[in-house]
């Protein structure tokens, strides 16, 4: 293409900045924590139920924060409802081929599920006295159905943002179809890390937390492989990362957010009691930097 790696280099920036980066982070946490909580509900053991509740406690506030961030980021925030209802006809506004349109609905419905599960968790944890609330929690049929559908929606919310970036014409974002996969895997990784941190904060040293840590370890390895695939799939566009963003990507995402946490997992004697919490905190920081680099490095092209 005569020196231009991609036709995406001729586009203009939508100026999705820090609000969107924060949304990608909190949306990922909301979806990921809900999914892990549902997983623990469905495949864990009864003694792990407090850990599942922790996931629901995190997911709902993160959904609320996500909705606020997205609304504030609009240049006409009072028209946020135009995403859901057609402004002129008031008919439902739904475009299945537009990730932003489907994402708006997914966030709304996921918000309802996470609210219901949040209520159920409050009731089960004796923080709210409402007998009906028990129905929202497994092992009852309704509780299981909520966990399965909510978990799937959670994954959608965590991953659609990457697909949304790919379904544009911006450099880097639309030069690889793998960002959705990367965001899904990263959401699972940062969510497991946050739940590990919170569990340690409350001094829950249960086998469930150890399982979560083991899960995070393998998810980080998977994320590392996906990151390599992303760089390969970018082809000549990957050279766009030969700058400060690339350095941040390498040091912040790969070294700080992946390699050091993995090393801390293998060498448990390095920081003693703080090994697990330090590893989880670094994974969270790396996950945030990943979103910063993906969103902002496109502007530098």
């Amino acid at each position: 293409m005569n020196g231009v790696p991609s036709s995406t280099y001729f586009t203009a920036s939508p100026e999705w900045g820090w609000l969107i980066i924060l949304y990608f982070f909190f949306g990922g946490l909301a979806g990921g924590c809900y999914f892990i909580a549902a997983l623990i509900d469905l495949f864990g053991r009864p003694e792990d139920r407090p850990l599942a509740r922790l996931g629901y406690y995190v997911a709902f506030p993160c959904v609320i924060i996500s909705g606020i961030l997205l609304t504030v980021d609009l240049t006409r925030p009072e028209r946020f409802w135009h995403m859901l209802l057609e402004a002129n006809t008031l008919r439902p506004m739904f475009k299945p081929w537009s990730p932003m349109s489907v994402g708006a609905w997914a966030l709304l419905i996921f918000g309802l599920f996470s609210f219901v599960s949040f209520l159920g968790a409050l009731v089960e944890g004796d923080r709210l006295s409402w007998r009906g609330g028990r129905l929202f929690r497994p092992p009852g049929i309704l509780g299981r159905v909520i966990a399965v559908i909510g978990g799937l929606l959670g994954f959608y919310v965590a991953g659609y943002t990457g697909v949304l970036l790919a379904v544009t014409n911006r450099p880097i974002w639309s030069d690889t179809p793998l960002l959705g996969m990367l965001f899904v895997v990263s959401a699972a990784s940062i969510s497991a890390a946050l739940m590990i941190l919170l569990a340690h904060r409350y001094r829950w040293i249960t086998p469930g937390v150890a399982a979560l840590h083991r899960m995070d370890l393998w998810v980080i390895i998977l994320e590392f492989l996906v990151l390599i695939a992303v760089v390969i799939s970018l082809g000549p566009v990957a050279w766009a990362w030969l700058n400060a963003w690339g350095l941040l990507f390498f040091l912040g995402v790969i070294v700080l957010g992946m390699l050091i946490p993995l090393a801390l997992y293998w060498r448990r004697d390095w920081l003693g009691d703080h090994n697990v919490t330090a590893s989880a905190a670094l994974v969270l920081v790396g996950g945030f930097i990943l979103r910063v680099v993906i969103v902002l490095s496109s502007e530098a092209v």
Binding site: M1, N2, G3, V4, S7, T8, F10, T11, A12, E15, W16, F35, I36, L39, I40, F43, G44, L74, T75, R76, R79, H82, M83, E86, A87, N88, M93, K95, W97, S98, M100, S101, A104, F155, G159, G162, V163, A166, V167, T168, N169, W173, S174, P177, L178, L179, G180, M181, V184, V185, A188, P207, G208, A211, L212, R214, M215, W218, V219, L222
Partner: protein
């Protein structure tokens, strides 16, 4: 539906007068840059810089000179929204603010747009931006209001050299092909049409006659639809979700099995 209408811009006769820019601003009541205080870009005679929410026409000045400046040429081009037949902005718009009109042009309805800016990221030509006066995404409407009143767009009406021509797409393509032939016959073999046929996004309803590679004019050589990544991106995401789900199930199940094995007599 009326017959598809559009622009044919013959860049070889553009003189860089910017009458199109002025006419567009006047008719569409677009605000001045920087409150009317002129700022110089330092880039040739181009102080408009780019198409955005308040510049719906942009005359580009491309200087092609040898280092000693003894030989060279100017390439001048009045850029505008391409009103693509397969429009990326229209495809992604989550509010249906972007519509296709009866003239086969693409228009953003300012009273519906909520400023999500997905269209800005989707446009392969970098045409759209937020107009700070309305807080909504805006671009050339191909003077939809004038077309409805039976008039031609302000820019083509103002163009003194007929570099910008308005008409039915069929007629414009005929005229453009004849002009290319004329240029070839006269020795300018580099002349070609950009976006005049269906191969590029189904056809650009604002197409160009160029005499150099598209990227020299700041145009993408191979613009694509955003949806090209939709299916593959979704399938990879689902694959990622399945892998993470399996890791999760294995992590929790595995522990259960091990503990069972440990307590087994």
């Amino acid at each position: 539906m009326a017959e598809p209408m559009g622009f044919y811009t013959d860049t070889t006769v553009c003189i860089g007068c910017k009458a199109c820019e002025v006419a567009c601003k006047e008719w569409n009541q677009l605000p001045a840059t920087n409150g009317g205080l002129n700022t110089l870009s330092g880039d040739s005679y181009d102080n408009t810089r780019r198409l955005d929410g308040i510049h719906w026409r942009h005359v580009k000045f491309i200087e092609q000179f040898t280092e000693d400046r003894k030989d060279g040429r100017w390439l001048l081009m009045s850029d505008v929204c391409k009103h693509c037949v397969h429009a990326a902005c229209l495809e992604v718009c989550p509010t249906n603010a972007i519509i296709r009109t009866e003239f086969d042009t693409v228009v953003i309805q300012s009273d519906t747009c909520n400023g999500c800016r997905d269209c800005i990221a989707a446009c392969p030509f970098g045409v759209i931006d937020i107009n700070p006066a309305s807080g909504t995404a805006q671009k050339c409407t191909l003077c939809y209001d004038r077309l409805q009143g039976g008039m031609e767009p302000a820019c083509s009406k103002a163009c003194p050299t007929d570099s910008i021509q308005f008409g039915t797409i069929r007629e414009l393509r005929d005229r453009a092909n004849k002009r290319v032939q004329q240029l070839h016959d006269g020795g300018e073999k580099r002349a070609y049409l950009y976006g005049a046929d269906e191969k590029m996004l189904g056809g650009l309803n604002s197409f160009y006659l160029l005499v150099d590679r598209p990227e020299v004019y700041g145009l993408p050589p191979d613009p694509k639809m955003p949806s090209r990544n939709l299916l593959s991106g979704s399938l990879y995401s689902i694959f990622g979700a399945i892998l993470v789900g399996l890791i999760g199930i294995f992590s929790f199940r595995n522990r259960g099995l091990r503990e069972h094995q440990e307590v087994r007599p």
